[in-house]
């Protein structure tokens, strides 16, 4: 009995020591930002390798807004491409999803907007030089109020050899 009483403080110390190495309790954090502007952080950018022989492809990224006001992404450009448009898959009158250019992407206050396949994305047209995975593709985003921020998008493999708008219904309705 005396043994266990004397050992009790040891247990408490060990216990609190271990409790100090606390594992994570909050959801996994966004990846390190590649660019920041006015409380907005841009992370996880990636440009899909254009399918064989084509000069059109899609780019994706995550926008995290930690400010109290909603922000709007209104445009994008790149010195290495003819033009970059904001696109979304929207349901048309016939119920089929079609890719459409959109004027802006809203990122809610204290919220996140994820540009991903099948949803919001950057459509990059007229890529001037051939790209390969691992290359760095410069991009500039324009937010409401003519605020611009530039960063590099890494080029990643495109396992499907297709790009946004190729699958299913129609292509780009331009």
């Amino acid at each position: 009995m005396t043994f266990s009483i004397r050992a009790l403080p040891l247990f408490f110390i060990a216990f609190t020591g271990l409790a100090a190495c606390e594992p994570a309790m909050t959801p996994p954090a966004p990846m390190l930002a590649v660019a920041k502007i006015d409380g907005m952080e841009i992370s996880e950018p990636r440009l899909r390798l254009p399918p064989n022989g084509r000069d059109v492809t899609a780019g994706y990224l995550t926008l995290t807004n930690s400010s109290d006001k909603a922000q709007k992404l209104v445009g994008a450009s790149s010195p290495k491409a003819e033009r970059v448009e904001l696109h979304a898959h929207l349901k048309g009158a016939d119920g089929m999803a079609q890719m459409r250019q959109v004027e802006q992407v809203e990122i809610p206050a204290k919220g996140t907007a994820v540009l991903a396949p099948g949803g919001l994305h950057l459509m990059v047209f007229g890529i001037k030089d051939p790209l390969k995975p691992g290359d760095s593709f410069p991009v500039e985003l324009t937010f409401a109020g003519n605020r611009k921020v530039g960063f590099a998008m890494p080029v990643v493999e495109n396992p499907s050899q297709k790009t946004e708008g190729d699958m299913g219904h129609g292509g780009h309705p331009h």
Partner: protein, 455 residues
């Protein structure tokens, strides 16, 4: 030949019946205890360690967090590719979302049924560490706890020890039940200064009483993990139409390894072409803000969708999101509340068993119960050594007339049914005792068995 040891039978009086029952249960408690003690001690020690798995693994992973970032983070797909190159011929099994932006990525790759965790620096893409998943400290502790490092045979032994331990708690409570005690001493409080025999008896009985509920809870919540009871449980659910669509606990490492090998073997170079990439699923999973740890699994033989799963220890915070392999859009989402009520009950039981249901208090209760069980084992051993006469095992002496009442018989039958390995063991032991052990005078004498009934 007249058998003088069998007096003319008259109906036993109620006190006689009680005394017989007490003696019988005491003998079972003794014999079962001899078998259980080493396993109880081992499971208590390994279990106590495993209770702190989140803290221990956080401490072990500390060197791979808050890294020096030499540039922007590389895309997840590049991190996965680097990890796949590390193990020749491996397939991508899952990606764990780093908890912080400066933490190493943990990529799980698999080859031939064996998984390896590869820690990749998110900016320099340097391989920081590669360790087979089963070799992680907590994985080894868990394998000892669940199957004694002996595969399915070990799992069976653990299940048998746990089943007998349930019997031990129940018989123990019967033995402890105060009949002639005066006051709380010897019942709720141990008598520490009444001589060493009373000391060890009270330490054993009183600790046993205090720990009984929690010990029983641990034993019962561990049953879904076992091979025999667990499979029986699944069978009953299939038969009654209450089966789960998918389970998130597995019964044996062997089964896990085989399943992994089948499911991921056609990945790698022949991967079908999907539009959504691991980068896209990772981004969507991060935006979904699930409880950590969060893992992403690619489509495979068992599941055509990408999955983002929260593996939160408390089970209640777990959410599973399925993303389409075609365009990465969310296909379905299952939270804990969406599960079948039986799965919810088993899930809560598992979380409480693992000490993850309600924070440090849960872990503390687990440790205290384990310490209580170790105390029970040590005190039982001391009692045995102090009481056992020279040259024999030291079992409580048998009653000459070995009749079992209908009530007890029914109880034994129910226990044997509910705990199948126990039932099988009872039959085996009864056969061995009747046919062999009690007929050889030296073993009968040593083991303290009753004379076999003459026909």
């Amino acid at each position: 030949m007249t058998d003088v040891s069998a007096p003319i039978q008259t109906a036993p009086s109620a006190p006689e019946r009680r005394a017989r029952l007490y003696r019988m249960l005491w003998r079972w408690h003794f014999y079962a205890g001899l078998f259980c003690i080493p396993f109880i001690i081992l499971l208590s020690i390994t279990g106590s360690l495993y209770l702190f798995k989140p803290q221990i693994e956080a401490a072990l992973d500390r060197p791979y967090t808050n890294l020096v970032m030499t540039g922007p983070s590389a895309p997840v797909s590049q991190q996965v590719q680097i990890a796949l190159k590390q193990i020749e011929g491996s397939s991508f099994k899952s990606y764990r979302l780093p908890d912080g932006p400066k933490d190493a990525a943990q990529v799980l790759v698999t080859k031939g049924g064996e998984d390896t965790i590869v820690y990749v620096h998110p900016t320099s893409l340097e391989i920081l560490k590669a360790i087979p998943r089963e070799e992680r400290l907590m994985a080894v502790v868990r394998t000892i706890h669940g199957e004694l490092l002996m595969g399915d045979n070990g799992s069976l032994i653990v299940e048998l020890a746990a089943s007998w331990a349930i019997v031990m708690v129940v018989t123990g409570l019967y033995l402890w039940w105060p009949r002639t005690a005066q006051g709380l001493h010897g019942v709720l409080i141990p008598r520490l200064h009444a001589g060493s025999k009373v000391f060890w008896r009270d330490i054993h009985a009183v600790t046993g009483m205090w720990v009984s509920f929690f010990a029983l809870f641990l034993l019962l919540t561990g049953l879904p993990w076992t091979n025999v009871w667990g499979k029986g449980f699944d069978m009953v659910r299939d038969l009654t139409g209450t089966a789960a669509v998918s389970k998130d606990w597995t019964q044996s490492r062997t089964a896990e390894r085989e399943a992994t090998e089948q499911v991921f073997s056609h990945q790698g170079h022949d991967a079908p072409y999907y539009v959504a990439n691991v980068d896209d699923i990772a981004a969507s999973a991060r935006a979904a803000r699930l409880a950590p740890p969060v893992t992403i699994t690619p489509p495979n033989g068992k599941n055509p969708n990408w999955m983002a799963r929260s593996l939160a220890g408390d089970r209640i915070s777990r959410v599973e999101i399925a993303f389409s392999a075609q365009d990465g859009s969310e296909v379905s989402r299952e939270a804990f509340g969406d599960k079948h009520v039986i799965d919810q009950a088993v899930g809560v039981g598992i979380a409480a068993h693992e000490g993850q249901l309600f924070g440090p208090l849960n872990q503390a209760l687990g440790v205290l119960t384990a310490l209580g069980l170790i105390t029970l084992s040590v005190s039982a051993f001391m009692m045995w050594r102090k009481r056992a006469p020279e040259g024999v095992l030291g079992a409580p002496p048998p009653i000459p007339d070995q009749k079992i009442g209908v009530g007890i018989g029914l109880l034994i039958f129910v226990f044997g049914l509910f705990l199948p390995v126990l039932g099988a063991c009872l039959i085996l032991v009864a056969v061995m005792e009747r046919l062999i052990l009690s007929r050889i005078p030296s073993t009968r004498h040593f083991l303290g068995l009753a004379q076999p009934a003459t026909h």
